[in-house]
């Protein structure tokens, strides 16, 4: 089973439309950091991270959107924990997204979707 954790409406709708029974799409309210924190909680429950939490060159303070895919596992995956903790630290260091226009926000949603929609879940 996979969980798609996102605060990006474009990614949320795209993954919902795939209607994959192996995939649970979960809306996460809040900013970039809230998705990372929720993903870290899942890692502690035995999930492993599929896509890197800092994927794309758009830094955590340059976009409010994040989509993270996690796979259900059986125990704590230390590599997942390590990358998610490092991403949370990087996010804290770089600061908060200052906001932008609607058209830019839509481009940022598009880019976040681009980074996750071709991922093969197997």
């Amino acid at each position: 089973m996979f969980q798609v954790l996102t605060n990006n409406p474009k990614a949320y709708n795209w993954w919902l439309k795939r209607e994959n029974k192996q995939v649970q799409v979960v809306w996460q309210e809040g900013g970039f950091d809230s998705v990372l924190t929720a993903a870290r909680d899942l890692v502690h429950l035995g999930y492993r991270v599929i896509n890197h939490p800092l994927s794309s060159s758009i830094k955590p303070n340059q976009t409010p959107y994040k989509t993270l895919i996690l796979a259900q596992g059986t125990g704590l995956d230390y590599q997942s924990l390590s990358v998610i903790e490092a991403a949370i630290a990087a996010s804290k260091k770089l600061g908060v997204f200052p906001g932008s226009t609607q058209s830019i926000l839509e481009d940022l949603q598009f880019m976040d979707l681009e980074m996750c929609r071709e991922i093969q879940l197997q």
Partner: protein, 427 residues
């Protein structure tokens, strides 16, 4: 494999009736270039000139390409795009050295990539020192970002290819020769020298984050071995421009300074075996697979050492550290080349991943450093995005046209091939 590079030094660029080189001046026929680059997906393509010292700002820069022409040997430059996919890297190639094609086009609203031809910003980009043909691309409303990106990317290659024809009849100012022996010959010739390869990491994550090898999207490759001379013919090209400071333009791939430096020491204190190219994909499984294959190739080549260069920041730090640690654990000494996001005061942790085995590091500088770029007389492209580009922030674009940004917005500022002047040294 043996490649001869003939350099024709270009010291100025002008428009003219015919594309040609005369006494170091590259004359560009607008008609000829516009006919060659015509693309029905775009609404307009216009050409501008930007010379060192001009009061000109180019933004957002998509790619920079050095014009090169294959005149003898297999294949042609930019294989997979301009030429067929014949193997390149041998024969004779002519270079319009000092000239560049710079493409600009706003594919997404937050896109950055600044090249200032004068003022304090000029010191932070190598492309303020080249004589640039600027290709400004406008797309219609509704063109998908993918098609828009592909159109602007290929327009740049076509423009470079058509002006490179001017090299055919020009006088060559200097010649360089690069030889790449096969493994057996290399071992026989330099049995006592340490065997060193270059691990060339290519960013490959999707729109505006991609790199192509012989026309193949490099996110779909497994790490492979290449001759360093192949890069000099454009076997690797850039589709990568977001967070412009540490992205390799096609110009960088053609002029990789790590390859140049390894060649300079080849046969003296090391035996330069070749280049392992690898990618930087988005999933952890891809990162594991690619770093495993990189380490396997390094082991099969019997390496003593490797230089590993990164492209980008953040998740590629994970690829970098995986490549580094897996080689080190095989007994292969590594030096990693990266850049830093150490905060505006430079005091924070520089990388998002680290390991004690990564104990030899070269940095291209701190991308969070802030700079104010004064207004320029002309802007080619658009300065509107200055408030929202990477490294920009609310109020970045002042009423007088000046821009206050982190240097991550400047094309090539902290390049991780070492193709610039910034670094950090222990004192």
């Amino acid at each position: 494999m043996q490649l001869k590079l003939g350099r024709i030094n270009i010291t100025d660029i002008k428009f003219g009736d015919k594309t040609k080189v005369e006494k170091g001046v590259l004359y560009v026929s607008k008609e000829q270039v516009l006919a060659a680059v015509a693309d029905e997906r775009l609404t307009s393509i216009t050409l501008e000139l930007a010379r060192p010292g001009d009061s000109v700002r180019i933004m957002p820069v998509k790619d920079v390409i050095e014009p090169r022409l294959k005149v003898e040997g297999s294949g042609g430059v930019l294989p997979g795009f301009i030429s067929k996919v014949e193997m390149v890297g041998s024969g004779t190639t002519l270079v319009l050295s000092g000239a560049a094609v710079v493409t600009t086009g706003s594919i997404v609203g937050f896109q950055e990539g600044i090249v200032d031809m004068s003022g304090p910003g000029a010191d932070y980009t190598p492309f303020s020192k080249t004589c640039n043909l600027v290709v400004v691309c406008q797309a219609p409303e509704g063109l998908s970002q993918h098609e828009h990106e592909a159109a602007v990317r290929v327009v740049g290659y076509k423009a470079a290819a058509v002006i490179a024809e001017a090299a055919r009849n020009a006088e060559v100012d200097s010649w360089e020769e690069y030889q790449h022996l096969n493994l057996f010959e290399g071992m026989q010739k330099y049995p006592d020298l340490p065997r060193v390869a270059y691990v060339y990491m290519l960013q490959t994550q999707g729109l505006l984050h991609d790199t192509y090898v012989y026309g193949v999207d490099a996110k779909r490759i497994l790490p492979t071995l290449m001759s360093p001379t192949e890069m000099m013919d454009g076997a690797i090209v850039s589709g990568n421009c977001v967070s412009a400071c540490d992205k390799n333009t096609t110009y960088h791939h053609l002029n990789n300074p790590i390859i140049q430096d390894l060649y300079a020491r080849h046969g003296k204190d090391l035996n330069f075996i070749g280049v392992i190219i690898t990618n930087e994909n988005v999933t952890l499984a891809d990162k594991q697979r690619s770093s495993n294959f990189t380490a396997k190739l390094a082991d099969m080549l019997g390496l003593d050492g490797a230089i590993i260069s990164q492209e980008g920041f953040g998740n590629p730090d994970t690829d970098l550290i995986m490549n580094c640690t897996k080689l080190e654990k095989l007994g292969i000494k590594t030096v990693i080349v990266t850049d830093e996001y150490a905060g505006r005061d430079g005091g924070s942790q520089s990388l998002a991943d680290a390991d004690p085995l990564a104990d030899a590091t070269v940095t291209g500088g701190n991308a969070n450093e802030v700079i104010t770029l004064p207004a320029m007389d002309k802007v080619f492209g658009s300065s509107k995005s200055a408030d929202i580009i990477a490294g920009g922030f609310d109020g970045s674009l002042a009423k007088d046209g000046s821009i206050t940004v982190e240097i991550q917005a400047i094309t090539g500022a902290t390049n991780e091939l070492g193709f610039n002047t910034l670094t950090a040294r222990e004192i």
